[in-house]
Amino acid sequence: MSQQAEPTDCARPGPGSAPPTGPTDGALVEVSNVEKVFRRGSEEIHVLQGLDLRVARGEFLALMGPSGSGKSTLLNLIGGLDRPTSGAVRVAAERIDRLSDRRLAAWRARHVGLVFQFYNLLPVLTAERNVELPLLLTSLSKARRRRHVAVALGVVGLAHRTRHYPRQLSGGEQQRVGIARALVTDPTLLLCDEPTGDLDRKSGDEILNLLQRLNREYGKTIIMVTHDPHASARASRIVHLDKGQLSAEQPA
């Protein structure tokens, strides 16, 4: 199991750093000529078709597109949750599509923070235990894990709800716990799949404010899948997908 050097060291590069507004030559994420084919019986479904995408370090990218356009599939490939049928996925210059299952799991633990539409918290664990989950894969002591959890919950404004179970929290609070869980290991990438999709406008705005703050103040690279133009407006760049291909790209 890999140990995180400094989980929840959210101070890098520090509040006030100017985020990049578009891809640079030193891309953090590089998706090259990626295809993803699902088989359903004898039928082949081409979800991604020769797709190329580059995401710069510190960027806040919104992936938009209609249902079935391949947004979540692309996010899964970038997060190492799935493998492309062909093509390459590089994150920080590492070919993650070639890693073994075991190494890919260790890579995810070290480099990726995931935020889900339906929060995906474990209902049997308190907020702090949920946030602690990724740290169980490190060699940090219990005391240090607790400190990191407290920092992460503090960043999302839930320091006072640590002992609450998910059922005792509102949707917005549950999503903030989900973000704290994604942040607690100080990952390279924050991947958000419809993070406001299950929330009302007010709670959704709070989550978007939080994500924007993580990007602007803490320099977190964020890729967010969304249907919602209101949400995508918070990103520094918007990429549209349609039928498994990039259809348009625009600065927010």
Binding site: L81, D82, D101, R102, A106, F116, L122
Partner: protein, 383 residues
């Protein structure tokens, strides 16, 4: 240890289901513990039998006596080191329910033959000096509150005295302890010379002989020589090792070990299905959560280990509690009030019990664990 909270939390997910599964495992292990103690009790003689001792009885039945004069002839058989005899008394102390074995023996020869009966030197001497003296095991003495110097009356069921009465009185001169946990310390030994002189009939006869052989490896050959010695006489003999004799005795009730194994196999198979079903349901219900764990970086092997650990914890809680309760019940005493003089939870069975707990946990958890391990993240998160 850091994963323990996660494993334990999963068991609290459906408290009633977990509780019922734990209870079913618990009952199975109470049964296991109790049957282990009963099996050990019924086979106790076999396990403590001396490898160098032979039992010599009448060829027809142990109920048929043999002449006391055989002692000298047996002693002369090549390979025999020592010989003594015992005679069953079968008296009643106050109530027929107060059962314990009573035998007329020759004190010094008996204690020399059975060194596992530990008797202090002064009590040996007292037995030698007191014709009506009796030595009893610690457990029986404690059960009836007897102490040295007490006069103990027994009502004979067979052996009337010369005056026609059936009341016999003995003076308690010694209390013996067992050298090992499995030694029977419930018996009641009194002097053969007093018994033979005072009984109305059967004089000059003994119940059976116990022979110590010089070489345990030659025990079977010595037994054959003894039987040959008395072949075609009015009292033909059947000599066999003490272990074989006691096995035959236990088998009069039935092959307890086989019966116990059959009952427990059926119980454990049922429990395996119950626990396996619980684990399978539990894993199926949280497919998405397993997907999340993998997405967070848990490896396939870690997910497999988490589910197996959960299954083992479930079996461990039920099994350990069950064996604990069995131990308490067994410690409270022999349920037959004396028919099972040795009644305890054998250490070997206790250790085997923990092995069974582990095996049950692994067997119940392996299929759901493998299913969880093979789960693809993207597929699990889509559900």
């Amino acid at each position: 240890m850091k994963f323990l909270a996660l494993i334990a939390a999963n068991l609290k997910r459906k408290k009633l289901r977990t509780l019922l599964t734990i209870l079913s495992i618990l009952v199975a292990f109470i049964l296991y513990g109790y049957l282990s103690a009963i099996s050990r009790a019924l086979n106790q003689g076999v396990s403590v039998a001396g490898a160098d001792r032979l039992m010599v009885r009448h060829k027809v039945s142990i109920a048929q006596p043999l002449p006391a004069s055989y002692a000298g002839r047996i002693a002369r058989v090549p390979g025999v080191q020592a010989v003594t005899h015992a005679s069953w008394f079968g008296g009643i102390y106050q109530d027929p329910k107060n059962f314990f074995a009573q035998m007329a023996v020759v004190p010094e020869a008996w204690l020399a033959m059975y060194p596992e009966f530990l008797l202090p030197a002064d009590q040996r001497e007292a037995w030698r000096r007191t014709r009506t003296g009796v030595v009893v095991g610690r457990k029986t003495a404690q059960k009836f509150g007897w102490k040295i110097g007490d006069r103990i009356p027994l009502q004979a069921t067979v052996w009337r005295k010369m005056d026609g009465s059936s009341g016999w009185e003995f003076d308690l001169v010694g209390i013996y302890d067992g050298a090992e946990k499995g030694t029977d310390d419930t018996q009641f030994f009194f002097r053969y010379d007093y018994f033979d002189e005072a009984r109305q009939f059967g004089k000059g006869l003994v119940g059976w002989y116990i022979v110590r052989v010089q070489d345990p490896a030659a025990a079977a050959a010595v037994a054959q020589r003894i039987d040959d010695e008395f072949a075609n006489s009015p009292w033909e003999t059947k000599a066999e090792t003490e272990g074989a004799f006691l096995r035959g005795w236990a088998k009069q009730i039935g092959d307890i070990t086989t019966i116990m194994a059959a009952i427990l196999s059926a119980v454990f198979f049922t429990i395996l299905l119950v626990a396996g079903n619980t684990m399978a349901q539990s894993v199926r219900e949280r497919t998405d959560e397993i997907g999340v764990l993998k997405a967070l970086g848990f490896t396939n092997a870690q997910v497999l280990a988490l589910v197996l650990a959960e299954s083992c914890l479930l079996a461990g809680l039920g099994g350990t509690l069950g064996m604990g309760i069995a131990w308490l019940l067994i410690s409270s005493g022999d349920p037959t009030r004396g028919a099972l003089p040795i009644f305890f939870f054998p250490t070997a069975n206790l250790l085997l019990g923990f092995g069974l707990i582990l095996a049950l946990g692994l067997a119940a958890g392996i299929l759901p664990a493998a299913q969880a391990m093979r789960l693809r993240i993207a597929e699990a998160l889509r559900r």
